[in-house]
């Protein structure tokens, strides 16, 4: 919601050129080709997706082991040089921008699946394993990892940003699905949190503290994940509505009825228009639309779907369009996941960024309808998509980067969305995180508790070397 240059927060880290070049030289010596300083590699590691406010690291290093990560962090801590963890760069809030230069730690070469324990329904992976890689590896075991933020993000990045996605309504977010971590802390120590046991009442919940800390309290190198049995039956359906309100009310009603839907996605008319064109979805109208997916036994799925159809009909939804074959489902969800690119394709030459409001389900209709009206007043194009089953929705706000007025207007709209969600008892971020763009909103949302977050940050990272300038305003 704010450009990083507006956040004129003084860096607490050293930007001392001699210290930085000392670290770079040492990394070049120790890691050879695995410590890159070419402009192309640095540029590639200067930003995620979303607003392209790039900030270049001085060097990008590709560790292979926990011990290497620990050595790099130890080196940076001694020299007071920033170190920023990087997965595949799909974060949306500027999490990976090297605001004060320093070392980018690219974990993508730590991509081994360390163990899969089918009888325990869990697995342990290195941080650089991607979501799709993990699920491909699990094929044949009858298990899967459900969290699906759309992008093929790394598991480490998903844990660090507390990602969720389209089926959080059924399976929860990374918060519920990370059982334990290996983390390198600012002092270069390797710490293991949580474990194989399903529950522990011993000590503070370090696992959940590191999950969502965006690399500011430690660098996640291994993740123990919960897995699930592939459901016996899966079916997906599409339901189109005359009004946006009808679609949202149908969702609220379904949640209230406790239907265990695996996914409910809302696309407003503008987003549907974009997706029909971009993903060549034939047979659909430009109308507010819900995508559903049901998981369970054959009988359970049929029952869930029947109840859901009753509810949607009551709120003006059309008959379900079914996708029971895996390839049809895949096509449907690909179209949903391409929503961001579809939106961008609507206005070539524009940039876009995503908002991430999440409100209690009882306020969802209010929040979406007020936001829709707000968009109309700006004249901007901003399609709405959302994992509405958990109260979370996004706008993709499009603006012309050559027009500073339009950018300011877009940022103003995004800020109002955050504040509206907070005022309704919700949050400025359901899944994307704080990064650099939502530091101010965090303060509005949490007030006094931000001081505690600040104190924790100082306790864990006294020299402020870990992803400085992000997540918590110091």
């Amino acid at each position: 919601m704010n450009a990083p240059n507006e956040l004129s927060r003084a860096p607490r880290v050293s930007t001392d050129a001699a210290a930085v070049s000392g670290v770079v030289a040492r990394l070049r010596a120790d890691f050879g080709d695995r410590a890159a300083t070419t402009p192309a590699v640095r540029d590639q590691h200067s930003h995620g997706e979303g607003l392209a406010d790039a900030a270049l690291p001085d060097v990008v290093v590709f560790p292979h082991t926990n011990a290497e990560v620990a050595a790099i962090v130890g080196l940076c801590n001694a020299a007071r040089v920033p170190v920023i963890a990087f997965g595949v760069g799909t974060s949306l809030e500027g999490h990976v921008a090297a605001l004060y230069g320093g070392v980018c730690m690219d974990l993508s070469q730590m991509h081994h699946i360390l163990e899969v324990n089918a009888a325990d329904l869990d697995c342990r992976v290195q941080a650089g394993v991607t979501r799709e890689q993990l699920n491909a590896d699990l094929k044949g075991t009858g298990l899967f990892f459900p969290i699906d933020p759309g992008a093929n993000a790394t598991i480490g990045g998903m844990a660090a940003t507390r990602a969720s996605g389209t089926n959080a309504v059924r399976y929860g977010t990374m918060r519920e699905n990370v059982l334990g971590l290996t983390v390198v802390t600012a002092d270069g120590r390797i710490v293991r949190t949580g474990g194989r046991a399903r529950k522990s009442a011993a000590g503070y919940d370090l696992t959940r503290l590191f999950v969502g800390a965006e690399g500011t309290l430690g660098i996640i190198t291994e993740v123990q994940l919960r897995l699930y049995g592939v459901p016996a039956a899966i079916s997906a359906a599409v339901c189109q509505f005359e009004t946006l309100e009808g679609a949202v009310d149908a969702v609220i009603n379904a949640i209230q009825h406790g239907i265990p839907v695996a996914r409910i996605e809302l696309l407003d008319d503008v987003q549907m228009d974009a997706c029909i064109r971009y993903s060549k979805l034939a047979g659909f109208a430009v109308k507010p639309t819900l995508f559903f997916e049901f998981h369970g036994s054959e009988a359970g799925v049929a029952e869930q779907a029947a109840t859901m159809q009753e509810i949607t009909t009551e709120f003006g939804g059309c008959a379900f369009e079914w996708a029971t074959k895996p390839e049809e489902r895949t096509r449907l969800w690909k179209a949903r996941h391409a929503a961001y690119y579809a939106a961008m394709a609507m206005k070539p030459g524009t940039q876009g960024f995503a908002t991430d409001a999440c409100v209690p389900i009882s306020r969802l209709a209010d929040c979406i309808m007020e936001t829709k009206a707000d968009i109309a007043t700006t004249g901007l194009t901003a399609p709405i998509v959302g994992h509405v089953g958990d109260g979370n929705f996004h706008l993709v706000v499009l603006f012309d980067p050559a027009d500073p007025g339009q950018r300011a207007q877009a940022e103003g709209l995004a800020k109002r969305v955050s504040l509206r969600a907070i005022a309704m008892g919700g949050t400025c971020t359901g899944e994307h995180g704080i990064g650099v763009h939502k530091l101010d909103a965090l303060v509005v949302e949490h007030g006094e508790a931000v001081e505690l977050m600040r104190t924790l940050k100082r306790a864990f990272d006294p020299n402020d070397i870990l992803n400085p300038g992000k997540t918590v305003p110091l």
Binding site: N117, A119, D120, G142, S164, G172, R175, E176, V191, R192, G195, R196, A197, R198, K199, A201, A202, G203, Y204, D205, L209, Y228, I255, Q256, H257, G258, A299, G300, E303, C358, V359, P360, I361, S362, G391, N392, G425, G426, T427, T429, G430, G433, K438, A441, L442, E445, H446, G447, E448, A449, V450, L452, M453, T455, L456, K457, A459, F460, T471, V472
Partner: protein
């Protein structure tokens, strides 16, 4: 003895009936469910507003007086054990259910509301609060949050941390802070998760928003007998490995079933080496499909007998023995020690076999009753404290069990908390790197170390001994309550 100036200050904040200092008044607060530790506090305060809580804490902070928060006092790890130099802050008067919202399926309650009272209040909407520690008729939600309480149904529905949206609390400085929020997620560091299970070391909880769960239309339980305890342990893994997450998955070994049968007459198969209870809930269609699958897996795993409850009365009868296991064991032995280790599920057969071997080595009987689905063991070591050397042997046996739990990748406490009881085990389980993070977290919230001092996280000096719960001749606090 409370500092007179502090006493005078507290007396301005509270009516005389809410400020107790005479020994006969403070005596009821000297211990919690872990009765081997007892201590009289300097004073007990019973505020009834959040403003009073904040003023009390600020007063104690200024005077550097320790504060121990207390709910119903059912902790099994000494979480509410008083500090001799400090005050006990009872939240017994915070009993209001502030709001029940069927639309968001949440309810806002004060910390002194009993766990079961939440479900009772939500019942009219077809909802309930899922975590169900066995002491749920007495224990309070504030204590549940502080201890991250579990229960029989947490396998499917999660622990307290999975069922709490928002906590409002007061720091030792008197500042009021909100953790989490009403929406599914909340921005920034997950302070809510830190407060859950923090055992009263970080903040005093004054309000909680919990998630409610729709009541399943149907619940059925399968009772399966095995003639070999390891085979029963393997069956637990087979059920989970088949992708089934039952609503409850509990196990009892033969010493346990024989003890409870005399007590509840549930017609358990007494010749079986172990009994599994597997619950399925949902719509009738879902339950039918899941039960068929459970029956198949149990049969394949070598169950010698499988019974499925035919109605609600029979379901409750199947459960009655499990719920009454502790009082039942208390009737057949002068003393018992209760352990609370948790292990990865797949280690169950190995751990059960080792416990059996150790039982022979130490010459002590051991009954196993536990949340098998979570791998949360509650081995009960049966002994007689009047026999010379038996207590020491029991302690050694217990310590070995906890070491075994850690060795296979588990933890020294699954759900009862560390309290004063397991400070020693913490040192075995955690390396200095982790312990120093814990101490950093504590310092961020309570730099002066005044909230519940001496609990939860050990100093290195304490890293010497493993703790256990010792019940002597039924001197269990609130012996009438079902537990575990």
């Amino acid at each position: 003895m409370l500092d007179p100036a502090v006493h005078a200050k507290l007396a301005t904040l509270l009516p005389p009936s809410a400020l107790l200092t005479a020994a006969e008044d403070t005596k009821p607060y000297e211990c919690d469910g872990l009765t081997i530790y007892r201590e009289l506090p300097a004073a007990v305060v019973l505020p009834d507003t959040e403003a009073q809580v904040a003023a009390i804490l600020a007063t104690c902070h200024a005077a550097r007086i320790p504060v121990v928060a207390r709910g119903a006092g059912t902790s099994l790890s000494g979480g509410a054990l008083p500090d001799r130099a400090g005050i006990v802050l009872s939240l017994a008067k915070f009993r209001k259910i502030i709001a029940v919202d069927p639309l968001t399926r949440t309810t806002i309650v004060q910390p002194g509301v009993r766990n079961l009272a939440i479900s009772e209040a939500a019942a009219a909407h077809g909802l309930y609060y899922a975590p169900d520690p066995s002491s749920q008729i007495a224990c309070t939600i504030g204590g549940n949050v502080a201890e991250n309480a579990g229960g029989v149904h947490c396998l499917k529905y999660g622990l307290t941390v999975h069922n709490v949206r928002r906590v409002r609390g007061v720091l030792i400085t008197g500042e009021i802070v909100e953790f989490g929020g009403e929406a599914l997620d909340s921005a920034g560091y997950d302070l809510l998760a830190l407060v859950n299970g923090s055992e009263g070391l970080l903040a005093v909880i004054t309000e909680v928003t919990v998630k409610l769960t729709p009541k399943p239309l149907l619940a059925q339980v399968a009772l399966a007998a095995f003639d070999d305890i390891e085979r029963a342990g393997a069956a637990v893994g087979a059920i989970i490995g088949a992708g089934i997450i039952p609503a409850g998955l509990e196990m009892m070994d033969q010493p346990a079933t024989r003890a409870v049968e005399q007590y509840v007459h549930a017609n358990y198969p007494l010749d079986a080496a172990a009994v599994l209870l597997v619950e399925s809930d949902g719509t009738p269609e879902e339950v039918a499909a899941e039960m068929a699958e459970i029956r198949r897996v149990l049969a394949e795993a070598g169950a010698t007998e499988i019974r499925i409850s035919k109605d609600e009365a029979q379901r409750l009868l199947f459960w009655s023995g499990r719920k009454a296991a502790f009082p039942a064991v208390g009737r057949i032995t002068p003393d018992y020690y209760c352990m609370d280790g948790t292990i990865p599920r797949r280690a169950l057969p190995h751990v059960l076999q080792r416990i059996g071997e150790m039982s022979a080595e130490f010459g002590l009987r051991c009954a196993n009753v536990f949340h098998a689905g979570d791998g949360n063991l509650h081995p009960l070591i049966l002994f007689d404290a009047n026999k010379p050397g038996e207590t020491e042997r029991t302690e050694a046996f217990g310590a070995k069990i906890l070491e075994l739990c850690i060795e296979v990748g588990g933890t020294v406490t699954g759900e009862h908390g560390v309290g004063v009881e397991k400070l020693g085990g913490m040192c075995v389980q955690f390396a200095p790197g982790e312990l120093s993070r814990f101490l950093g977290i504590k310092a961020a919230f309570d730099a002066a170390g005044l909230l519940n001092p001496g609990k939860g996280v050990p100093t290195l000096q304490r890293c010497a001994e493993m703790g256990k719960m010792h019940v002597h001749h039924g001197q269990l606090r609130h012996p009438e309550l079902p537990r575990f």
